[in-house]
Subunit: 212 residues, 2 copies
DNA sequence: CACAAAATATGACCAACGGTCATTAATTTT
DNA sequence: AAAATTAATGACCGTTGGTCATATTTTGTG
């Protein structure tokens, strides 16, 4: 009964090839300016075929985001491993997020799209649902770091790990969003500071809020 | 020479009427699902006329955002006035932002659009350029509160007011973005916490980071 | 008032794009 | 080899943002 499995493999491969093509197109033109015809051409498939593998344009873009989120997840895992104390782990996770932002700006944009749009999670089989699971697993690493920090005394004990993790996630995403979209006009032109300055500065603030 | 002035007034009035109509449409359907034809119908004008007053759909939506930002600005002014110490002013400004988020969810959505999209500020006469100025004036109030707090000793002196203000702005926007878009699915369903919990919690974190 | 000039407004029209579906092609099963 | 199932195609459709030649209204002039 190897046929069904082979077909499954081929289907998965084709799906991946489409995402590969979609990345080339979306990363070059951006989500708004990229068209499904572009992707079809790049993938050397007809447009209709794309819709056999992905529900719609958003679903396809979320598939790209999912790849990015998996990268981020592994960066978080590395970050947690390399440090001893909880607060160091926590800070390291934050640094990993910034590293992700700088090293994979295109994936970061896909993440921003995910974070700033009202995604439809209703369909359990959609890519969106997968993103949700992957996103939770990623956040869980941050929560765990904070828990460890409370236990080892490096983080003050009167905080709530889950709320703190969500706060940190939202905060940092917000800062990186500004850094990404408003650097030229607001930061540089109005206040003569670099995105990196604000990012670094934000870390100090957070550190100050958490340490015991 | 009253004619030119009257015409100018009438032009301004018409512009406002269009924004009024646009609010009704955009607020009901959201930015993506609202069409320029909808707005034209609601305004009882032809579509072509809309384009005499606004460059494009985004410009019209930004005009709505500008109204929202002016409301926020006045809330900030009130917030600053009512408090004595710098840290109280700063906290009060934060509370005002949350009040804005709750009381004017539609304007808040317009603000989120502005914050999460790559707006074209090139044209000096566009609504986008006005938004920039208004946004800066609003942020300035936050900066000023922090400066006062450093002077009166309620905020620790080794922070940078501008960077802090930008950080707080980005952080809070990030949190409110999550609260707004991901409440149902992530916060409630996954972690059983309310958006309000996270917002309040975030305030405590920030307070902790700033106080001397 | 009559007529020209300027300013406004109109809506038919266009191009672009996301998405669909009847048809065709390829593969597997019988 | 024929039937049945699965996969792929691309012409086509509806919607929408935006335009522009034309029409209407208002203002200026003799």
């Amino acid at each position: 009964m190897g046929i069904a499995e082979r077909r499954e493999r081929e289907k998965e491969k084709r799906k991946n090839d489409i995402i590969d093509a979609a990345e080339r197109v979306f990363f070059e033109k951006g989500h708004e300016n990229a068209t499904m015809d572009d992707v079809a051409n790049e993938a050397e498939l007809s447009k209709g075929t794309l819709y056999l593998y992905f529900k719609n344009k958003e679903d396809l873009y979320l598939a790209i985001h999912l790849r990015g989120n998996k990268i981020l997840h592994s960066l978080f895992q590395k970050a947690v491993k390399n440090k001893k104390t909880g607060i160091e782990k926590t800070r390291s996770v934050g640094k990993a997020y910034v590293e992700f932002f700088k090293k994979y700006p295109n994936y970061f944009n896909a993440m921003l799209y995910y974070e700033s749009h009202d995604i439809d999670f209703a369909d359990q089989d959609s890519v969106a649902a997968e993103c949700l699971i992957e996103g939770k697993a990623t956040l869980e690493l941050l929560i765990e770091s904070i828990v460890i920090g409370i236990k080892d005394g490096s983080i003050r004990s009167n905080i709530d790990p889950v709320k703190t993790a969500i706060s940190l996630w939202g905060q940092t995403t917000g800062i990186l969003q500004i850094a990404s979209l408003k650097e030229k006009i607001i930061l540089s032109q109005y206040f003569s500071i670099s995105a990196q300055d604000v990012i670094d500065y934000n870390f100090d603030l957070i550190y100050h809020a958490l340490k015991s």
